[in-house]
């Protein structure tokens, strides 16, 4: 099987700070990571390769430094890495991003062979849109399977897959055909640590680096800001709340603290106690 996994290098959200005056993200010193949701898709791709043979290619679009994330993906076990990088892609919204990625995937298929499955993360932790996967699927005419919790069956010879998909109030069991695009949900598998051999290989591996021209992306009006139907009109920090929290002094022990906290809650919201008494007794 040939499997492609799209990943994104993102700032570690836990460490993001916003500049108080300019309202811009302070990137200096913020470590970058592979978008955590992508790892579940990468792991699933590696499992399919380990079971059926074949190869896993990872693809990312981003600045040259995004090659670090590709190298990490190689160290986890991917076989090949492709970096799509060009200033023409700067400022892409989801529609422009999926145009560039879909073109790059076409080029990957010309160069390295037809892909049976394309994986993306469920969403990223910086943009949070969950729209790039569906956009790529539509542009490449791939059957779309989002929010997958399990690949129950996969038959590369027949080109069939059966998956479990998280839906409202339950799980859909869907049967479809390859080629398809899959996004895995978090917790669907345990992401492996790379083997020592993979780590050594990753350090030396060549990362295939393509510009827009290399990827044969000819229509640059569909890329970057020019190719984005949405525009960001205003960026601002959430309004701070005027009122600060009322701090409760911790007591001598946990029990005293608990009593003080409960007293503070019910003093502030007298009606809560009656409501909660009913709720606690299951009424």
């Amino acid at each position: 099987m040939k499997i492609l996994v799209c990943i994104k290098q993102v700032p570690d959200s836990a460490q993001i700070r916003v500049h108080p005056v300019t309202n811009t993200i302070m990137r200096q010193g913020v470590p970058t990571i592979i978008n955590p949701y992508d790892l579940f898709s990468l792991e699933e791709a590696l499992r399919l390769r380990d079971k059926f043979g074949g190869e896993v290619t990872v693809l990312t679009m981003g600045p040259p430094m995004a090659s670090e994330s590709l190298r990490k993906a190689l160290a986890i076990g991917a076989d090949r890495a492709v970096l799509l990088t060009d200033r023409f892609f700067a400022g892409s919204d989801t529609l422009a991003t999926t145009y560039a990625l879909a073109q790059a995937i076409r080029k990957i298929e010309q160069t390295f062979g037809k892909q049976d499955i394309v994986f993306t993360g469920k969403q990223t932790i910086d943009g949070d849109t969950a729209q790039v996967g569906p956009g790529i699927a539509k542009r490449l005419g791939l059957l779309q399977l989002t929010y997958i919790s399990k690949i129950a069956e996969c038959d590369p010879d027949k080109g069939e897959v059966v998956v479990e998909r998280r839906a409202e109030g339950g799980v859909q069991v869907l049967k479809t055909a390859m080629p398809c695009l899959i996004t895995m949900i978090e917790g669907s598998n345990d992401v492996r640590r790379g083997a020592l051999g993979d780590t050594l290989r990753a350090a030396r591996a060549e990362i295939v680096t393509w510009s827009a021209r290399d990827a044969e992306i000819e229509d640059l009006t569909k890329c970057g800001l020019k190719g984005s139907p949405t525009i960001v009109k205003k960026v601002f920090a959430p309004a701070p709340r005027s009122e600060k929290a009322a701090f409760i002094e911790p007591g001598k022990n946990a029990a005293e603290s608990a009593d003080a906290l409960i007293a503070a809650i019910f003093t502030r919201h007298p009606a809560l106690e009656a409501d909660m008494t009913k709720l606690a007794s299951g009424l």
């Binding site: 400022g91 969950a130 929010y147 139907p229 601002f236």
Partner: protein, 364 residues
């Protein structure tokens, strides 16, 4: 979404709507119905859509897809009670259960035929799966996971959404393409009052679909066991835990308190990313938005991504060892202490305080 703030030149881009988009009119809301149940977010969006339509002086339409039959027609009729003037009733056997192929085709055909200027969907798994396909097919803009919608002076949809995990908010326009599409998180917009006497116009639409051309088949649907089903979004009391709990085992302390309170339990995003807790329990921008009377956050630092999911709570109680944690900026009551030590005591204290038996004895 772009991860890079755009240069000012772009932000000042002029609206030049091409001629062929000028007859795109009216506000549409996609009604999410699965197995006969309409997702409440659809009614919330009708409430919000009503405001946008009134401001624009246009009609509000609901878009109802499903298999031919009573349930689908009932959803269309019900949409009038929540504010729709028109209901597009799209019935076809291939629409019995949600599948991306059939739903994306039907919605795209409906848009191309009846041409809305605004199309809103819930930011649920279904809505996000569908919206991305439809927007890409139509090559129009889509603003995902919005928390606020408005119409500006020239009639453009101003869609505001958190970005960078909620550290910043940005307002996004789709200036020169139609429809302007947005997905909106459940429980962000208020539920409108239901008016059973309101009526409207049904517009039937037959999509060009054939089951044998749809490759993906639904083999079966496995409903969640009721006991395990999260009712977070609608709970009156919610207890949640974060990384301050330090281990998956300690999360039991949160569940114990929730159990004594008859509350729902939830968690912050890192616990889901670590695989400790299932994603249907996640509270925040990428999880559930909650509006309880009381919210207790134990060991949660309160990144903005979490904040946007809980701000609607009447009373937010924060327990954290770090007195500078952002959660104290929006909590109403805070205590600087270790949640792992406080939670068992708090559970016991609430158990005594809220027990009717205990109260009777004290009163007697």
């Amino acid at each position: 979404m772009s991860a890079t703030p755009p240069p000012p030149a772009r932000a000042n881009a002029k609206k030049e709507l091409p001629e062929h988009f000028r007859d795109y009119k009216h506000v549409w809301v996609f009604i999410e119905a699965e197995r006969g149940d309409v997702h409440p977010v659809s009614w919330e969006l009708l409430g919000e859509g009503r405001k946008l339509a009134d401001k624009l002086g246009v009609e509000l339409a609901s878009v109802v897809l499903g298999e031919p039959g009573e349930a689908t027609k009932a959803a269309a009729a019900e949409s009038f009670s929540y504010g729709a003037d028109v209901a597009y009733l799209v019935e076809h056997p291939a629409l019995a259960d949600y599948r991306n192929e059939s739903y994306a085709k039907a919605v795209t055909q409906l848009v191309n035929t009846h041409k809305p200027e605004i199309l809103l969907l819930g930011a649920t798994n279904l809505g996000r799966d569908l919206a991305g396909s439809v927007a890409t097919t139509l090559l129009t803009g889509l603003t995902a996971d919005c928390t606020e919608l408005a119409v500006d002076a020239d009639g453009s949809l101003a869609a505001t959404r958190p970005t960078f995990g909620g550290s910043l908010l940005c307002t996004i326009y789709t200036l020169n393409y139609r429809p302007q599409m947005a997905t909106i998180r459940p429980r962000v917009m208020a539920m409108p009052a239901r008016d059973a006497d309101r009526t409207g116009r049904i517009v039937p639409f037959t999509p060009d679909l054939a089951e044998d051309e749809i490759i993906t088949k639904l083999l079966r649907f496995v409903p969640d066991r009721d006991s395990n089903k999260s009712n977070l979004a609608f709970a009156d009391v919610v207890v949640a835990g974060g990384m301050g709990l330090q281990s998956a085992e300690n999360f039991q302390l949160v569940k114990n308190l929730a159990s004594v309170l008859g509350a729902e339990f939830g968690c912050s995003r890192p616990l889901v990313q670590k695989g400790w807790i299932s994603s249907d329990r996640q509270i925040g921008q990428t999880g559930k938005t909650i509006r309880p009377k009381l919210y207790i956050a134990a060991g949660i630092s309160g990144a903005i991504q979490h904040r946007v999911g809980v701000e609607g709570a009447d009373c937010i109680v924060a327990i954290n060892t770090d007195k500078n944690a952002p959660i104290f900026d929006f909590a109403h009551v805070g205590i600087v202490t270790d949640a792992i030590r406080l939670l068992p005591a708090l559970t016991e204290a609430f158990r005594q305080r809220l027990s009717p038996h205990q109260r009777d004895r004290l009163a007697g």
